[in-house]
Point group: C2
Chain length 385, copies 2
C-alpha cells in the first residue's frame, strides 16, 4: 500500500540493519543526530567558551520552542531538562504541600522512577495518594476521579501508561481537578511524538516527558511544559543559575528568577544531548502527528487482528482511541518469546506482568510488523511441539 | 625550558587555532571527546536499546570510577550527575534539617547557582548561614569556623573560590565540623583536575563538581562523591529509577535503593555527555595531578611576577599554596581590557568586582601565557595614552 511516511525512512539509516520496533523505549537515531553531535564538537573545539553566548546557553529554551509545536503548546512554555524525573521534581518543588491541601494524587501504573521521586516528596510532607489498578494494565477513571478532592494540591499522571499503552482520560481528570482547585501535571513520555497533543487546549498546568522514545532524540533530552499563566506564579525551590534573570552577573546576594519558562531550569545543561535532540523533533514534525497517529493506529490494529487470529492475549486496549503508540500482547510464555525475538534481531521488549511491547513508528514498514508477528507465531509453534 | 606535559598538547588540536587560557571556565576539547561522541552515535544507531545493558546504564558509575582516581577517592564512591547544582541537591535531599540541628553553613563567595539552590532548601526548613567575605575575594577561616556549631547539619563550601582562586582551609573546616558533629560537602569545580586531591584522607562526607572545566569533559558531566561509610546511611529524597537495586523490575510498589553509590542517581543519564567525558579524565590522569599542579604554580607565579612588574592589582592569593589553577588580576579598566583580549582571540574571562581570570592548564605553553600578558600591557598602554 501507499505509505507516504516511508519517505522519511532514509533519514534513519540504521533501520536497514535490523527490525526496530522499540520506539516506545528508544527511538531510532536520525542521521541528523550525528550531525548535531558533530556540531557540538565543532563548537566546543572551534568556539570554546564563546559557544555559550552563541547558542549553548539558550539551547534548553531553543529546543523547547521547537518541541512546543509537537505538544500543542505556545513558544516560551517548554524547556529541556536532563531527565523526566528531574523535570517533574523541578515543577513539584514550586508547590506547597501544606495541610489541608497537601495531596499528590498519582496512580500505581505511573512510571516507577516518578513514583520513587513522589515518595521522596511524601517524606517531606506531601500526602501521597496512589490510585491502584484493578488489572495491572488500566486505571479506572471513576476511581481516579474519586481520589481528587479539595485536599488535592496536584494530580500527576501519565497520559499513556507505559505498561499497556492505555490512554488515560485526561480531559475528565482536568475537569475534576479544576472543580476542586487542584493542579494537573501530565507525564507525556508515552504520548508526545505519537499522539497529536493540545496542551494549551487541555488546560493542564504542566507536563513533562522525554525525547528518548517517540521523539527520536536519545537520552539526556527530557522536557517540562508549564502553562503560560502559571509561569510567573511559580518559583521552583530546586533551582540554579540557568533560572536567573542575569546569570552572568554572578549575583550571589539575590536570586531574581527570569520572568519566563527558564525559571524552571537548574544548572548548566548537557549541550551534547540537546544538540542531538533537534533532528528527531524535526523528523517527527516533518511526518506530522496526525499522519503518525493514523499510521500507528493502522499498524497496532494489524497487531490486534493477528493476536485475535492466533489466540494471543491482548494487554493493550482493543479500542484504537484508548491505545497509545505501542501494543502489548502476551503469547504463551511471553518472556521467553521476547528473548528469542531479540536473539533474531527483532527489537521489542517486555514488561513484567504485562507482555511483549511492540512499538512501530512512522518509519516502520508493515513488513517489519509482520516479520515480528510471524516470528512470534513460529517461536510459539516450536515451543508447543 | 623543558616542559614534558606539552607532549599531551597534540591531543587538543584546537589549541593551535587560538590562545586558550580559560580552562577555569571551559577546558579545551580533547581529540578523544569527538571519538566518544561518535561511539555514542554508533551505539545508538548500531545497538539501539541493547546499548543500555552493554554499558550505557552503568556509565554514571563507570565514569565515576575513572574520575575517582583523580579525586583521591575509592572506586564505588563517585557517580556522574547532569550538573553540579543537581549533584549537590541530590546529596542534600538525603539530610534532615530539623531544629535544633537545622543549619546549612556556606559562604557568600560560593558559586551563585549553589547559593540559589541552598535558598530553596532554606524555604523548606533549613537554616541558611552564609558567611560573608570582607574583601569579596577571600573568606576568613576564623569567621567560617565560628559559624559552625552544634546546630550545624552540614557545611557546604567551595574548595577553591571561583572568583579569586582562593583555596579554602578545608582541613580546618573538616576538623571543626567533626568536633560539632556536622557534615562537610565540598564543591570541587575549581580544584579537581588542577589540584592533587585526597578526599579519602580529608574525610569530608561528600563532594561534587563538574568535568566542564579543568577536567576537559564538556557540559553535562558533573559528579558526586560520597564517603563510603555514609553511602548506606543516606537515602536521597530526590531520586529516580537509576537508584533502584533492580530498576528493570519496574517495581512501582516499593523502592529498594542499591547498596552502592548509584543510590545517589536519579533518572535516565545523558549518555552522550558521559561518552564525551572520558577522554578529558584520561588526559588529566596521563598528565598526573602532581605535575599539573607544579606547572600550574609555575605559570601562575609567572603571571604574578608580571603583575608586580607592571603594577597591576593582584586579586588571587600571592602565596602559591593558597591559589588554585586560575589567576585573577585587575589592570586598570579590566572589564574593557578583557573584551579587547577576547577580540584578539585570547580566551580569558572576567568576573565582576574581581578581575581578569587567566587559567593556564597542562597543555598551555609559557609563550601563550606571555602572549596574554603582553597583550594586556599593550592594551593598557594604548588606553593610557
Amino acid at each position: 500500500m501507499n505509505d507516504p511516511l516511508l519517505r522519511l525512512r532514509a533519514e534513519f539509516p540504521s533501520l536497514e540493519d535490523g527490525c526496530h520496533l522499540i520506539s516506545h523505549s528508544l527511538g531510532a537515531m536520525p542521521r541528523g543526530a550525528r550531525t548535531g553531535l558533530e556540531q557540538y564538537a565543532d563548537e566546543w573545539s572551534g568556539r570554546s567558551v564563546r559557544a555559550w553566548e552563541e547558542g549553548w546557553w539558550e539551547l534548553p529554551r531553543t529546543v523547547g520552542d521547537e518541541l512546543a509545536l509537537l505538544l500543542g503548546a505556545a513558544p516560551g512554555t517548554v524547556v529541556l531538562q536532563p531527565n523526566a524525573t528531574l523535570a517533574g521534581a523541578v515543577f513539584l518543588s514550586a508547590l506547597d504541600f501544606d495541610a489541608p491541601r497537601d495531596g499528590l494524587v498519582t496512580t500505581s501504573l505511573d512510571f516507577p522512577s516518578l513514583l520513587y521521586m513522589y515518595r521522596g516528596l511524601a517524606d517531606r510532607g506531601a500526602r501521597l495518594v496512589e490510585v491502584p489498578s484493578e488489572d495491572g494494565l488500566t486505571i479506572d477513571t471513576g476511581r481516579l476521579l474519586d481520589a481528587i478532592d479539595e485536599r488535592t494540591r496536584v494530580v500527576t499522571i501519565s497520559h499513556v501508561l507505559f505498561r499497556s499503552a492505555f490512554v488515560m482520560d485526561v480531559a475528565a481528570v482536568a475537569e475534576r481537578a479544576r472543580e476542586v482547585g487542584a493542579m494537573v501535571v501530565l507525564d507525556l513520555y508515552q504520548s508526545a511524538g505519537t499522539l497529536p497533543l493540545d496542551l494549551a487546549g487541555l488546560g493542564v498546568d504542566a507536563a513533562f516527558g522525554g525525547c528518548l522514545k517517540w521523539l527520536c532524540g536519545g537520552p539526556g533530552n527530557a522536557y517540562l511544559y508549564v502553562r503560560p499563566d502559571r509561569i510567573p506564579e511559580l518559583r521552583p525551590r530546586l533551582t540554579g543559575w540557568q533560572a536567573h534573570a542575569d546569570p552572568f552577573a554572578f549575583d550571589g546576594e539575590s536570586f531574581r528568577p527570569t520572568a519566563g519558562i527558564e525559571r524552571f531550569l537548574t544548572g548548566t545543561p548537557p549541550v551534547s544531548a540537546l544538540r542531538a535532540a533537534r533532528a528527531g523533533i524535526a523528523n517527527v514534525a516533518a511526518a506530522g502527528l496526525a499522519a503518525i497517529r493514523e499510521k500507528s493506529t493502522r499498524q497496532t490494529t494489524r497487531i490486534l487482528d493477528r493476536c485475535d487470529a492466533e489466540g494471543w492475549d491482548v494487554r493493550s486496549p482493543r479500542e484504537a482511541a484508548r491505545r497509545g503508540g505501542s501494543f502489548v500482547l502476551a503469547p504463551p510464555d511471553f518472556q521467553n518469546v521476547a528473548a528469542r525475538l531479540i536473539e533474531r534481531g527483532i527489537l521489542i521488549d517486555q514488561r513484567p506482568e504485562a507482555g511483549i511491547r511492540i512499538g512501530p513508528h512512522f518509519y516502520n514498514t508493515d513488513a517489519e510488523v509482520d516479520r515480528a508477528l510471524d516470528a512470534i507465531a513460529e517461536i510459539v509453534a516450536e515451543r508447543s511441539v
